[in-house]
Structure formats: C-alpha cells, structure tokens
C-alpha cells in the first residue's frame, strides 16, 4: 500500500525519485540517494547496538547490496523501506555474530554510556540549554520508550509511519495519537518551567 499521506517532500518520496532517476540511467540519482538517506541508515545501525566501525560497515554494505539488487526492486517507492530493513537486518546479524543476545531496546550502545544523570560527554557537546533540557528528560524514560521515540525521530514528520513500520515498531506506536512514550516526554517538558513551549 502506498503512503499517500507522505507529502511530496517526504524522504520516502525524495528517495524514490532519486532511485527512479538512477534506474533511468542518471548516475547522479544514486549519489543524491546516498546523500539523503545515509544519516538515517547510520542512526538505524547504531540503534541496533553496533559500535562505530561495525555500523560503518553495515551502512556501506547496504548500499553495495542496493547496487546489486537495484533491478529487482519492483517499486521505486519502496526503496527507503528496503534500505532501512536491510540495514536493520544486517545490523542484527552483525550483533549476533559478535555473540551477543539479540538486541532489545536496552542494547542501544548509546544507553550503555556512562550514567545519564552524571555530566556526560553528550551533554558537553550540547551547547543550547534547551537541548540539554530535552536530553535530560529523554534520559529519564524507560529503555523501551527511548528506543521507540528514537525510531520515530529518525525521520521527519511525513516519514514517521514509513520509518516506524520499516523498523518493525508496533502499528499505532505513533499516530494518530501520540502514545504513552511521547506523552511522558511531553508532560515532563511542559511541566518543566525551564522549557520554552514553541509558539
């Protein structure tokens, strides 16, 4: 089923038209596709619990597989999902080859970093007070909620559904209602007097 609700500017649509151009013989289309989608694939690989080097390898291999499988992808509109699921699956197998249990939400390497309540390197790179505040409240959520919100926040609004679905998040985990995880975060922010509600 096509996601007709995704706007013309959604990443899914931009990816589809770049991929279509590539298949029509414009090599620049692939270059555009790599520029647009690599940051998202990086985030996906990292969320599966991969360390830097392994995440780089998985992302690079996903692209090599796309070159190989390009002719067999029937619907260019599905290329973003194809890239996300390939990255996720390969990241899983890379993690299990490393003799670790299948990554659950808690396996996110970014959560394994030092105690979230201590001044962390993450906080040090966040210059804006507002950023630090959001990070602080995000850090207090359950691992399951962190994983879910990350998965949604990987994408921009028109792509929430596509990305969450490709990552195997439960249907209805985002939209039309905001769900419990986002509600928790939002409640924490709204009741924090330091947080400035966007106008």
């Amino acid at each position: 089923m096509m996601h007709t609700d995704a706007g013309a500017h959604s990443l899914a649509n931009r990816a589809a038209s770049a991929f279509r151009a590539y298949r029509d013989g414009e090599t620049a289309g692939m270059s555009t596709l790599v520029d647009e989608v690599t940051p998202l694939l990086w985030a996906v690989a990292r969320q599966q619990g991969l360390h830097h080097q392994a995440a780089e390898d998985v992302v690079q291999n996903t692209w090599l597989k796309l070159v190989e499988h390009a002719p067999s992808i029937a619907d260019p509109q599905s290329v973003l999902k194809w890239l996300i699921t390939t990255t996720k699956r390969d990241a899983w197998s890379s993690v299990s080859r490393g003799h670790r249990e299948e990554p659950a939400a808690h396996a996110d390497v970014r959560d394994a970093e030092p105690d979230a309540t201590a001044p962390s390197p993450e906080l040090a790179v966040l210059a804006e007070a507002d950023d630090r505040l959001v990070w602080h409240h995000f850090a207090t959520l359950s691992d399951r909620c962190k994983a879910l919100l990350r998965a949604i926040a990987f994408a921009e609004k028109p792509d929430y559904a596509t990305v969450a679905q490709a990552l195997g998040m439960p249907v209805g985990s985002i939209g039309p209602t905001r769900g419990r995880c986002l509600a928790k975060l939002r409640h924490a922010l709204v009741t924090d007097p330091r947080w400035e509600m966007p106008s």
Partner: protein, 166 residues
Amino acid sequence: MSATPDPETTLAAGALDDVDAHVLDQLRHLHEVVDPPPADLVDRVKFAMTVAALEAEVADIVSSATLETVRGTDYDRADTVTFASDGLSVMVSIEHGATTRADIVGWVSETDVEVELRERGRTRTAVVDEEGRFSFTGVERGLVNFVIRRRGDVAAPPIITPAIEL
C-alpha cells in the same frame, strides 16, 4: 487542580500536534549532534559503490609529495600523487592556479590506456600519448578519482584510484 485522573493518560490519547513534531525534531537534532555519522562515510560509500559497479581494481597510493595523510579515506590537498595497481603506475601532478580550478598533468607507465577523470557530477576521458602522458584542464576543486582502462584488453578490470582532493 482538575479532577482529570492522569495527565499522561490524557496526553497519550490525544492527537499528534505541532508541539509533538517540535519535540521529535529536537530529539532528532540531539541525536544528530551527539552521534553524527562519520564525516567521510558518504564519500566512502560512493567510492565503494563505484568500485562495485565498475568491478574495478583499486589502486594504492604509493607516494605523495606535500601530503602526509592520504590513506584510502583521508583526503588532503595534493601536489603530486603516485598510484599503483596490477603492475601499472600513474603519477599525477596538480597545478593550482589563482582560480577555483586546477590543471592536472599525468603520466601512466603504459601507453595503450585511457584515463577517465571523475569529478563531482561529471566525467571526462583522455587517451594517453605515446609517452603515456595525459592532461585535464580547468578541473573544479573538490574530490576526484581516476579510472584507468587498458584499451588492448577489454576483459581486464579497470583500475580506480582512491579520491584525492584538488
């Protein structure tokens, strides 16, 4: 205080709005700042894809004047770089003019080859002369690769050089 049982439950059942989009945008931004993809990942991916698509041999950089750190994935400004692969070597020298463009003069250790210059967004080809020389003028600054093909042996895989920055 209102009698509403639990503000989170009420919020959870509410429809997504602009404030949610803003919060999620901020979260995405945070993760991009805290854990960005490596700066050269995109360039390396593109290079690997080109190699795969061409089924090419990748040449090694064997020497470079003025640049210390070109090793496959690190780029630096080069003046003279020598590449080698499969018994063939290529030396290129880059002349930076006053403009944003540079001229490239090169020499290949074989004479029956053609050299393709891959710039961002376009490619050009030159056939080497009887002494193995070739040149490209007015090359836009940025990352470039060379692809070398042996004309006498169409079955031989082309040789691609790592990217260098002009």
